[in-house]
Every structure is written in C-alpha cells, then in structure tokens.
C-alpha cells in the first residue's frame, strides 16, 4: 500500500475508534443531568444512586475519549500536512474554538463531577455536571462545523501564496460556521449521541432486571432512559430526512451514490439492494418515486444521477449505498424498539417481557453501529474530495512522510487500540458487575 492508502486507513481507524466514546459522553452526559436534576428536585436517594453509578461509567468513557482524542488534534498535521496548509486559515480556527470553548469546560469540570461529590454542595455538583454535559455538546458543534465546511465549503476565498500554491482564507466567519450543511448535521450528530447514551443505560438496566439485581434502581433508570431513547430515535428520523435534503441540494453526487441512482430522472428509494458498479445498475427492492418525493415533494421530479459525473468524480458507490442503507435500517429498528418499550410500559408488561429485556441488553450496539455507518457514508461519500469540489484527498497528504513511517505508526495504533478496547470492555463489565453500591456499602455487608 502507498502512503495515501495507509494514511486514509490510519485516519479511518483512529477516528472510528475515537468515535465510540464522544457520542456516549454526550448522551450519557445528558442522562446524568436528568438523573441528578431529578435528585435535586425530589431529594430521593435513589436518583442520587443512579447518578453516581453512571458517573463512574462516564469517567471511564471520558478517559478513553480523551486518550484517543489527542491523536485526532495532531493527525491533520502529521499525515495531512498539505491539507493543513490549504485549509488551516479556515479549518484550524474551528479546532481552536473547540479547545477554547469546549475542552477546557468539560475537562475542567470533570474533576468536580468525578471527585467532588463530598467536597461541594449538591447544587454546585449539579452545576459541574451541567457544564461537563454542555462542554461535550459544544465540542460536537465545533467539530461538526469543521467537518461541514469540508462537505459544503462557504465563507472563504482562494488566495495565491508568495511561495507558490494557494490556500483558502476566511472572508465571512459566520458563513464558515453556518455553512449550508452545519445545522442539519449537528442535530443529526446530537440525536445519534443521545441514542448512544440512552441505549447504554437501557442495556445496563435491562441486564440487572434479567439478573434480578438492584431492581428498583434498574427500573427507574430504564424508564428515564426509555423516554430519552424514544424521543431521540423519533427526532433522528426527522433530522435524517433534513440532512438528506441538504445533501441533495449541496452534494448531488453523494446523494446519487447513497441511492445507487445513475440516470437523472424520477428516483425510487431502495429498502435494500446491490449496486453493480461495472454496469451502472442497481438491483434491489425499491419504492418508485419516493426519493424524488422526499427530496422535492413531487414523486416525478428528476434527481441528479451519477451519470452526470465523470467516474473520477464519483465516490465508491456500492460501499456508501450499503453503509447508508444499513444506518437507516438500524435507525428504524431503534424507533421500533424504543416505542415498543413505551407501549409495554403503558400496558404494564415491560418487566415481564424477558425477551424484550434481552433485546434491550443487546440494543446498546445499534446506535454505535449506526453512528459509525453514518460517518462512513458521509466521509466516503465525499470522495474523491477532502474538501468538496476544492481539494482532492490524494493532494492532501504530507509530502515529507514516507509510506514506511505511516505503516509503523499504523501498526502501533492497531496494537494499542486493540489492547485498549479489550481493557475498556473488561473494565466496563467490571463496573457493571460491581453494581451501584459503593465500596463502603459492600464492606458493611461483608
């Protein structure tokens, strides 16, 4: 493999691994605010117990997020130096803003959240929890701003440099921040993150119920998380629709690849299928005219097809078709699970339906998968560009870094991340098995 393929693989590996954790921090952060808020409001010990237990889980997740996140801040410079030179003026400011407005906030107050329970008043502690949750949400804003600028660049002009070469420079900062795709993508990321957090709480609670341990604790946590999960899953449907409309308007090649749509004509929506890239055909089960209808409100409106783009300007089609459709299928499944859970709760059968509790235990994996698949669709769908229509990914590499060096770091990261993942799962399981009791309480019992 050459330096380009290796650098892309390394970026993909490091960002995909990193992205297991931030959505959990965001979603679980929201749940912590709810749990602790309920405690302050009702002063019932049970909510405090729930808040303290999930704070311990949060601490582990947050540490993983930080450890793998430092890599991301520097990887633009190490592997994508030409990209950094080209976009630093625009893209760098979003990253710097993330540091100034988000990282300091969440990391500063994290210490209070984890270690401050007995040092500060409950109200002050709640404030710290709120700030950590807010910091996590701010962080997503800035990183989505940076990424959305790569998808739909705005508010810049190209300037020739004295030493040769050109770069993008900011002309209107607010246009950079609110590039055409920013707002719809932030909501999409938030809902994905809330689902990740809520389904994690659902999974752990359902596990306790199946094991008949800490039942009051588990039932209360489950009910609260179920409400968050149901709301976020349904809202995600709307934000997904909104996102897709923006893609249709701003990145037609990407939308066409998502649906394997070749001829510019009225377009069907595939439920599932397979793209035969060699012959330019898509096979599968589809609803005629639905894509046209979703994009423009008319089922016979033409949607730009892939044939409008020369092959060197198309992304890998079948790959993004599959990741995109898998993401949607999972999204629908999550709505079904969460709303069926609400239905069971209303009918009073939630605690007896053991099969459904097992579904909830496993459901924690689904938002994770959907989040990863969604990012793969968005990022691979932007190819062959690193900045849409402005810079090709193949022109973005570091010129001074050799393939052998990237291979070395890639092996290093592969090894370390595998180790970290095993340890993370082991410790997460350990915390779950340990349950909500503190060490002293267990000591008293023994």
């Amino acid at each position: 493999m050459d330096a380009l393929a290796l650098s892309r693989a390394q970026f993909g590996l490091t960002i995909a691994f990193h992205y297991i954790f931030p959505p959990l921090s965001i979603g679980l952060g929201l749940c912590l605010v709810l749990f602790e808020g309920f405690y302050l409001f009702t002063r019932e010990k049970l909510y405090l117990e729930i808040a303290r237990f999930y704070t311990r889980i949060f601490g582990l997740i947050f540490a993983m997020g930080v450890a793998t996140g430092v890599v991301m801040e520097f990887q633009f410079g190490t592997n994508w130096a030409s990209y950094s030179r080209f976009v630093g003026d625009v893209f760098g400011s979003a990253l710097a803003a993330e540091g100034v407005f988000a990282f300091f906030l969440e990391s500063g107050f994290l210490g209070l959240l984890l270690f401050g329970w007995d040092r500060i008043k409950p109200r002050t502690h709640f404030f710290a929890t709120l700030m950590v949750c807010l910091g996590a949400h701010f962080s997503a804003v800035w990183i989505v701003v940076a990424n959305s600028w790569q998808q739909t660049p705005a508010g810049y002009h190209l300037v020739g440099q004295p030493g040769g070469g050109i770069r993008a420079e900011v002309t209107d900062f607010w246009q950079v921040v609110f590039s055409p795709s920013t707002v719809s993508r932030i909501w999409h990321v938030y809902m994905g993150a809330w689902q990740a957090g809520a389904f994690a709480v659902l999974s752990i609670s359902a596990y306790y119920l199946l094991k008949k341990k800490y039942e009051t604790f588990a039932k209360t946590g489950l009910k609260m998380a179920l409400v968050v999960a149901a709301a976020a899953s349904l809202l995600q449907l709307f934000s997904g629709h909104d996102s897709a409309k923006v893609v249709a308007a701003t990145q037609p090649a990407k939308l066409a690849a998502y649906e394997g749509h070749y001829e510019t004509a009225a377009a069907p929506l595939y439920l599932f299928g397979w793209v035969d890239e060699k012959n330019g055909q898509t096979h599968g089960v589809s609803i005629p005219g639905l894509l046209s209808y979703l994009v423009s409100g008319q089922s016979d409106a033409p949607v730009t097809g892939l044939n409008a783009f020369t092959p060197d300007k198309r992304p890998p089609i079948n790959f993004v078709f599959q990741t995109y459709h898998a993401m949607i299928a999972i999204g629908i499944a999550l709505i079904a699970i969460a709303w069926f859970g609400l239905f069971l709760w209303w009918r009073g059968g939630l605690w007896k339906a053991r099969w459904f509790l097992w579904v909830l235990v496993l459901s924690v994996l689904l938002p994770q998968a959907a989040n990863q698949l969604g990012w793969f669709s968005a990022e691979v769908g932007r190819q062959p560009y690193i900045v849409y229509n402005l810079m090709k990914t193949s022109d973005a590499l570091s010129k001074s870094v050799k393939a052998g060096e990237v291979l070395t770091s890639m092996i290093l990261f592969g090894f370390i991340y595998s180790l970290l993942f095993v340890l993370f799962i082991y410790l997460l399981n350990d915390k779950i098995q340990h349950g909500p009791e503190t060490k002293e309480e267990q000591g008293h019992r023994a």
Partner: protein, 340 residues
C-alpha cells in the same frame, strides 16, 4: 502603523504552551518520580494528587495544538509531518499515561498495578523528554526545502543539543513535580519527598547551566532579539531570580512559595525560549532562507482577529473556573472510595 497580529499570536500560542508546561509539567514530573515510591498507598497518593486535574492540564496542549494549526498552519504542518515518528511516540506515550491513571486502581492484583505503574512512569518521562527534544530541534534548526517541507530524517533529530534539552526538560518537570507533591502530602512520606526536592533541584540546576552555556556557544541566533530590544533582558534576569528563589523557599520551608517560584521559573524559561526563536517559527538549518517565520507561516489577519476575539471571551472564563477547581481540590490528598 499596522498592529502586529502575528506577534500577538506568537505570544498567545506561547501562552498556551506555557500553560501546558506549568500545569502538565508538574503532573508529568509526578509521573517521572512515581516508581521511586514503592508502597501501594504512597503510589495511590501520587496518582490522586493529580487525579482530578491532569485531564484539564492536558487540554492546554490540545488547545495549543489547535491554536498553532489555526494561527500558523504552515508551522503546524511542517513540524508535525517533519517530526512524524517522534510525535507518534509522544501520542502513544500520552495515551498510555491517560489510561494507566484510569486503569491502575480498577484491579487489586499486584502485577496489574505494577504494569500500569511502569507504563505511567515511563510514558511520563518519555513525554517530557520528547517535548524537550522537539523544542531543542526548533532552537537548533531543522533542514527545510523551498516548499517548507522537512528534508531531514528521524535520526537526524537526535542531535546532542536537542537531547540535552530533552534531559533538561525531564529534570525540570521532575523538580516541579516533586515540589508539587510535597504540597499534597504529609507526615513521613512528605519528609522523604522533601529530600527528593533537593536532589531534583540540584540535578535541574546542573542541566540548566549546561543548556545555557550550550545555547550561548552554539546558537548565537537565540540572542538576536535580546540584542535588538535590550529591555527584554529583564526576562533572563527574572528567570535566574525565580530559579534562585526555589532553594531559598525550600530551605525556609515555604512549600507553596517554592511551587510558585518553580511556576515562575517555567514561565520565564518558556518566555526566554520564545524570545530566542522569535521571529522564526521553524528555523531552517542549513538554508536559513527556507525558514518559516511568524509572517510567512501565519493565517490571514482576518482569521487572527477572529481568534483574538475567541481568546478575549474564552480565556477569562477558562482562568476563572480553572482557579476555582484548583481551590476546591486544594490541601492534602485523602484517599477515599472515589480515589484512584
């Protein structure tokens, strides 16, 4: 006269990295000394002394990196791609350090704790050393081509001067860390650690003198700005005074005073480094005409102005809650059920 936004941002990026050196400096230092205490409780006290704050400290590095990217993208691109393997090692060390702190306490087995103790300590030392080596290379100069790309090799980065600066950084952080840990401990452990302060202090001062002479002899370029603006001589003077004040505080038993002196010493050392390399971001050695200065490496003035607004809004907030959090966690380490 036009306002010199590039110099302002050279200072601001410097402030972020100085914040990092002062804050993560002591927790890297605590990590460097970690293996020298043998007892499990004592090691836990070390970890919990930095437990609630190390993460916030590391953010200064991340934000410094982001600010460098935004304000001087050419320098960010050249340095990080040029020091590729060295930075990958630093990242690996920082990852190991972070997870070692988090994972160590989770299991009681001796081998488990020993393994994380070793990775915590080695990665702390390695981080400090690599940061010093990187700074040493920026002072000495690295070969750049006409397109500002690094034209040297990994082994070429390991010249004697950068290695000397790497060792100096380790000794500096070890001293800074030992002064900090004395503040967080009491009783017999504190008495033992006070002895360490003397040793680390003497080691650092030896390295400091050696580095100063090496710089004067081999890198006269570092004096240029001082000669042009003689009022800046206040910085090396205050630097020497701050360092000299550390043994004075220590001998008088003023622990917190010693820590403040140590912070001041770090601040002035970073300032001195900044004055020395100014106006270069990355000096090219050989072929100085290919160097990156604060002017040909900077973003547009529009971007620098926008980011100045970020800093004007953000920095007071950051400082106010950072100080509040340090205030809440002041005092001696007490191990409880929440501790690592």
């Amino acid at each position: 006269m036009n306002f010199d936004w590039q110099t302002l941002w050279f200072i601001l990026v410097g402030v972020l990295f100085t914040g990092y050196a002062i804050l993560d400096g002591f927790d890297l230092g605590v990590g460097a000394l970690h293996l020298f205490v043998k007892d499990d409780t004592e090691r836990r006290i070390f970890l919990n002394a930095i437990g609630p704050i190390w993460d916030g400290n590391e953010v200064w590095l991340v934000t410094g990196g982001g600010a460098l990217f935004a304000a001087f993208p050419e320098a960010y691109a050249t340095v990080f791609s040029g020091f590729y393997l060295a930075f990958m090692l630093l990242l690996v060390a920082l990852i190991f350090r972070a997870v070692a702190i988090e994972f160590r306490s989770k299991q009681p087995m001796k081998w488990w704790r020993q393994a994380w103790d070793i990775s915590f300590s080695i990665s702390s030392i390695l981080s400090a050393f690599l940061i010093g080596v990187a700074m040493g290379n920026l002072a000495w100069g690295i070969p750049l081509d006409a397109g500002h790309e690094f034209a040297g090799t990994f082994l070429g980065l390991l010249k004697p001067f950068p290695i000397l600066l790497g060792l100096t950084t380790v000794s500096l952080f070890a001293m800074h860390g030992s002064i900090f840990i004395v503040l967080k401990t009491e009783g017999a452990l504190q008495a033992k650690l006070k002895g360490w302060v003397k040793n680390t202090m003497i080691t650092f001062i030896l390295f400091y003198v050696l580095t100063t002479f090496a710089t004067l002899i081999y890198i006269p370029r570092m004096m240029t700005t001082l000669q042009q603006a003689p009022w800046l001589f206040i910085v090396p003077v205050l630097n020497v005074l701050a360092i000299a004040n550390i043994p004075r505080n220590v001998s008088k038993g003023q622990g917190f005073g010693a820590f403040l002196s140590s912070c001041a010493a770090l601040f002035f050392l970073m300032a001195l480094f900044g004055i020395g390399v100014y106006p270069y971001m990355v000096f090219s050695n050989p072929s100085p005409e290919n160097s990156l200065t604060i002017y040909n490496a900077a973003s547009s003035v529009t971007t620098l102005k926008i980011m100045s607004l970020f800093v004007a809004v953000g920095l007071p907030l950051i400082l106010s809650y950072t100080l509040s959090i340090y205030w809440i966690f002041r005092g001696k380490v007490k191990l409880d059920s929440l501790s690592y």
